[in-house]
């Protein structure tokens, strides 16, 4: 019942986003949109998905939008002509899609084709074959590990893309200038600094809990990576980027991003060398279930490394670009 209300909220927010011209307001509404969809995923029993949406939507997505908008400008120009054609195309496509849904099995019906094919195997046999209570983790990390490997490589590539697009080389005097503005900021927000300093260890600890508890409850490498990165981003925002860079060097993060993918791939290669197929963890140990446990632990660790470092790389480069454009402006004047 509650999912109907949440979906109605989602539609209202989406319509408001269409009509709004102030991009910062749009990014705030997008934050509400993320919160709502996470609640919806909880009502649909998809706790792992809700967890991921929560860890991504709570911090990083709104943050990236905000930083990008501070660099590109706040307001959107109104369109010159009425978008009649666009409306027409959208209405036609929408009505065709609605026509398509009429043939679909009703929501929640247990005999829909999607529930008959592979899913019963996962639900009934994963405990004997993998030995992990969380079926989502066992499908993610063992049955469909090759798929997940592809996703991790995509995330890694996105990190490289942002690095190629936004990274800047700084002169030392610019660094000093940026540092001085950041120090100014540090003196101002005493309360925030104290609370955040107290909070960061908890967030890091919680990220580790999510990373290693993913076999038994909701969680895993993807979520843990994002939460870990959020803690570092929080530190960087309050204590200055250059302080954070001193703590966590950029080249070290890039190294870790590569290490994660490499760890994932090498687990596959090891099982290949032991005479089983790629990413078949039962080759890792004499006891197949113990091998599965070891394999899942290793590849979740790889995923966690890559996701956390790519998120930190993205944030550092966006912020670095912004600081750079600011110093350019002040040099001109």
């Amino acid at each position: 019942m509650i999912n109907i209300v949440l979906l109605a909220f989602l539609v209202v927010i989406a319509i408001a986003i269409v009509r709004m011209r102030d991009l910062l307001a749009v990014s705030m509404l997008l934050g509400i949109y993320g919160l709502l969809s996470a609640s919806f995923f909880v009502t649909m029993d998809a706790v792992d998905v809700a967890f991921t949406e929560a860890s991504v939507g709570a911090g990083i997505s709104t943050l990236l939008m905000l930083i990008a908008i501070t660099m590109t400008g706040r307001s959107e120009h109104p369109e010159r002509h009425k978008p009649v054609l666009a409306l027409f195309v959208v209405l036609i496509t929408g009505s065709l899609l609605i026509y398509g849904t009429l043939e679909m099995p009703y929501f929640g019906s247990a005999d829909a084709p999607i529930h008959l094919h592979v899913a019963p195997h996962y639900i009934n046999n994963s405990m004997q074959e993998i030995g992990v209570p969380n079926i989502v983790t066992s499908v993610l990390a063992s049955y469909r590990a090759f798929d997940t490997f592809g996703e991790v490589v995509v995330i890694f590539t996105a990190g490289i893309g942002v690095l190629a697009l936004l990274s800047v080389v700084r002169r030392p005097e610019d660094i000093i200038k940026i540092d001085s503005t950041n120090n100014l900021m540090r003196a101002e927000y005493l309360i925030l600094r104290i609370v955040v300093k107290m909070l960061i260890p908890f967030i890091l600890l919680y990220a580790l809990y999510v990373q290693f508890h993913g076999d038994y409850g909701p969680g895993g490498g993807f979520q843990a990576g994002v939460i870990f990165a959020s803690a570092i981003i929080l530190y960087a925002m309050l204590f200055g980027i250059s302080t954070a860079r001193r703590v966590i060097n950029q080249s070290v993060i890039q190294f870790f991003a590569a290490i994660g993918v490499l760890l994932y791939g090498s687990v596959g290669v090891v099982s290949l060398l032991n005479g089983k197929s790629f990413l078949d963890y039962s080759a890792l140990s004499a006891d197949p279930v113990a091998g599965q446990h070891l394999g899942i632990l290793l590849i979740e660790l790889g995923v966690g490394f890559t996701v956390a470092s790519v998120m930190v790389i993205i944030f550092f480069n966006f912020e670095g670009r912004r600081d750079n454009s600011l110093t350019k402006e002040s040099n001109k004047t």
């Binding site: 998905v49 997505s61 369109e79 195309v89 849904t101 996703e151 995330i155 993807f222 998120m311």
Partner: protein, 117 residues
Amino acid sequence: MLMGLYNYWVVVVLMMIGFYIVIAHGNLIKKIVGLSIFQTSVFIFYISMAKVDGGTAPILVEGIKQYSNPLPHVLILTAIVVGIATTAVGLALAVRLKEAYGSIEEEEIQKKDNLDC
């Protein structure tokens, strides 16, 4: 029928709203927002299909027989993180375009391009 297909219809509406933003608005950041609405509608579609009446979250507990389908959850879980990474690349492109052209409005960028030719 209304209750049985409500979720899918909402998905179609959200998808079309995202689609409309992408094709009708000229601002690149707004287009990225539209893409992410479109993306979320696909997530909602998959997760709605995975729900089974009377089922519960796919984490094995003694005494529960009926679970929701775990496979769509896996697909969407990875898609969310990939989605934020690709959105970041899109935003980075928008930032570079702003630096190069001084604007992120589609029409103005095209005008400048035509002047250069």
